[in-house]
């Protein structure tokens, strides 16, 4: 039962409370599906998109030749989603264009979450000048419009590798999560088990990694999912600005080209333009809904509202 996780203070640390043994797991899952029909739907949708993104290139092998005779075609046989401005098949690009997008979003979310968790926890636990410095830096970077900072920074470097792309996105997107983590840790710090660990003089690293962070794990996972949506948003933004090398197949690149080549204003190209847009909207929506139903499960007070 999902209600099992109800604790006295529902902010964090609920996962530690859930002790489901194997026999109860099946009924737990059934109860979860019954309670969260919407959440389950979006969870399955998210899985489907991830599977398409990862295995798509193998499902539709071969290459995608240009065809000057069939430019900006509406859906026809052989091209169920039509063709782009060079006569390339759109469906092929949908199958091939999700992998790098998801990979970079995953890396960026991982990096920014790690930065936020490590420094947020450090600031709250160590306190003193460490806290002042980290808080001030975070506040300053937070005030600069994130997406403009990203665009300007990216104009100075050549974003020729997925890692670099993920690093620059993460470098501009850790601030809100760091603030949230810091205040969570400040409240966790007052709990008995952390006080006990400090009394025992277990050392800062030990307290951080074996007492505090495990108790925030659900909170971190929820925010990781939200950070993924940020990673996708930022990436397509950079594609749109033309700051990522325009090669390979990517849903972001498809949108950029539909815009820059004027296909946007061409009635027959509607399916071509909507294909990557629908994929991205579904992906973003399912990530947001999954993060929200995770929050529902682990933070049950919200559910009554």
């Amino acid at each position: 039962m999902a209600e099992m996780s109800v604790g006295l203070e529902p902010q964090v640390g609920q996962s530690a409370v859930i002790a489901v043994d194997e026999r109860k797991r099946a009924s737990w899952l059934r109860a979860f599906v019954a309670r969260n029909k919407v959440g389950t739907f979006f969870f399955i949708l998210l899985l489907a998109i991830i599977i398409l993104a990862i295995f798509g290139p193998w499902m539709m092998p071969g290459d995608n030749p240009t065809n000057v005779a069939l430019i900006l075609s509406p859906p026809v046989s052989g091209h169920p989603l039509g063709t782009d401005y060079m006569g390339k098949d759109v469906l092929y690009q949908i199958f091939h264009g999700g992998r790098s997008l998801l990979l970079v979003a995953f890396l960026a979310a991982l990096l920014s979450t790690v930065i936020a968790v490590v420094f947020g926890t450090l600031a709250a636990i160590v306190g003193g000048r460490t806290d002042v410095v980290i808080t001030v830096i975070t506040d300053v970077v937070l005030t600069v419009p994130q997406i403009i900072l990203l665009g300007v920074l990216a104009a100075y470097v050549t974003l020729n590798s997925p890692i670099l792309l993920a690093v620059i996105i993460a470098a501009t997107s850790w601030t809100t999560l760091l603030r949230a983590i810091r205040s969570q840790v400040l409240s966790l710090k007052e709990r008995e088990y952390v006080e006990a660990a400090r009394m025992l003089d277990l050392g800062m690293g030990r307290i951080m990694f074996s007492e505090v962070i495990p108790n925030m794990m659900t909170y971190i996972i929820i925010n990781f999912v939200i950070a993924m949506t940020g990673g996708i948003f930022s990436q397509i933004f950079l594609y749109f600005l033309g700051l990522v090398p325009l090669s390979g197949d990517n849903w972001g690149l498809m949108i950029q080209q539909a815009y820059s080549k004027g296909a946007l204003f061409y009635k027959d190209s509607m399916v071509y333009i909507l294909s990557p847009i629908v994929m991205i909207v579904l992906l973003q929506l399912s990530l947001v809904m999954v993060s929200r139903s995770l929050e529902d499960i682990f933070n049950p007070r919200l559910r009554e509202s």
């Binding site: 902010q11 306190g127 003193g128 000048r129 806290d131 002042v132 808080t135 001030v136 506040d139 300053v140 970077v141 937070l142 005030t143 600069v144 419009p145 994130q146 997406i147 403009i148 900072l149 665009g151 300007v152 920074l153 104009a155 100075y156 809100t176 603030r179 949230a180 810091r182 205040s183 969570q184 409240s187 949506t229 996708i232 948003f233 397509i236 933004f237 749109f240 600005l241 033309g242 700051l243 949108i255 815009y259 946007l264 204003f265 061409y266 009635k267 509607m270 333009i273 909507l274 847009i277 991205i280 909207v281 973003q284 929506l285 990530l287 947001v288 809904m289 929200r292 919200l302 509202s305």
Partner: protein
């Protein structure tokens, strides 16, 4: 909400810290002093970041420019760096520290150099002609989005559990998760091109030809007409966030004793909703304004080019694509300054509305 509320308190318990840390900590006790300090630091951070990017990054634009002048036109290094100085307002012949302070001095006088792509045009004049349009559209978008979101959020809280609540929650989640530039594209593709309901080509630019700025109704109506698509997108993409925040904030305000007391005193439900619940529920939303302002301003970078609205965002888009470094630095600095000032204004308003903030929250 608890997240946002407790982040600003910096409480320090170390007795042996040196004087500068003590004064910094003392500083941070006063809300407005702290916010002024943060505003100053933010602008300082951005100016220094720009200097670093221009002067210290390997392969920085100023070096590239100087080398290009030397190889293309056969200039000597001095001649080329003189050219660069005129453009970037940075003299590469001076020691770095002097360069840095000179650069800050120029900025203080409003000198941001000359545009690389439009020779003979100063960055300052380009910004001055474009910035008002963005301030107008983004500002109006923020205000409308905030007001509508707060209103609908309260409706959702009062009607929670009904179909109105679940319908509004779905709409809020949907608009909240669609990236703003995608929403703008959808408006054009579906309502502009496919259905032909919105004359988006006619709405391009910031004013129709023949209309001139002035205190006339025609000017304001026309400005609003041309800005309406960007404003609609700004409103739609932030309203969902405000709705969800206001809903949860209102629900917790409804449980407060003063609400029960006010009802017991026979005050009308409408007065209770506005003066007791609404006024208190809105306060936590202010802590999210920084992020919202930055988000909407950042959105203009893609929304304006998509709708061909002639504001600072469209100019920055061109500057980034054309690697017009002086222009993009100037715009970056200017936008950040505007956001910082907007935040200060929001903070002032917040501390007037909630006196607890000024006295340190006790």
């Amino acid at each position: 909400m608890a997240v946002a509320a407790s982040t600003d308190k910096v409480v320090i318990h170390h007795p042996e810290r040196p004087a500068i840390w003590k004064s910094l900590a003392g500083f941070s006790q006063n809300f407005l002093v702290r916010r002024l300090f943060r505003a100053f630091l933010t602008i300082f951070f951005v100016t220094t970041l720009i200097f670093f990017l221009v002067r210290l990054l390997p392969g920085s634009p100023i070096e590239v420019y100087i080398n290009q002048q030397m190889t293309q036109y056969g200039y000597s290094y001095d001649q080329a760096s003189n050219q660069a100085r005129a453009l970037f307002a940075i003299d590469t012949n001076q020691p770095l520290v002097i360069q840095y302070f000179n650069y800050l001095g120029h900025l203080a006088q409003g000198d941001m150099g000359m545009s690389i792509q439009s020779p003979g045009t100063s960055v300052g004049s380009i910004i001055a002609s474009r910035l008002p349009w963005t301030l107008f559209s983004v500002g109006l978008g923020l205000l409308i989005g905030f007001a509508v979101g707060v209103g609908l959020g309260m409706v959702m809280a009062y009607k929670r559990g009904t179909w109105i609540d679940s319908a509004l929650t779905s709409i809020a989640s949907l608009t909240h998760s669609i990236p703003n530039y995608i929403l703008a594209l959808l408006v054009i593709v579906i309502f502009g091109v496919r259905l032909g309901w919105i004359p988006f080509t006619d709405m391009r630019g910031s004013l129709s030809s023949g209309v001139h700025p002035g205190w006339t109704f025609r000017f304001f109506a026309d400005a609003l007409y041309h800005a309406s698509l960007p404003i609609a997108v700004y409103v739609l993409t932030q309203v969902g966030g405000w709705m969800l925040l206001m809903k949860s904030s209102t629900i917790s305000a409804l449980e407060e004793d003063y609400v029960t007391a006010a009802r017991a005193r026979g005050i009308s439900e409408f007065r209770v909703a506005v003066l007791y619940v609404g006024r208190n529920a809105i306060l936590p939303l202010f802590t999210q304004l920084t992020i919202a302002i930055g988000f909407v301003v950042g959105g203009s970078l893609l929304i304006e080019p998509i709708f061909v609205y002639e504001g600072i965002g469209a100019e920055l888009f061109k500057a980034i694509q054309g690697r017009d470094y002086t222009l993009l630095q100037g715009i970056f600095l200017m936008i950040t300054t505007c956001v910082v000032l907007a935040n200060l204004a929001a903070d002032l308003l917040y501390s007037r509305l909630d006196p607890r903030i000024r006295t340190g929250g006790s």
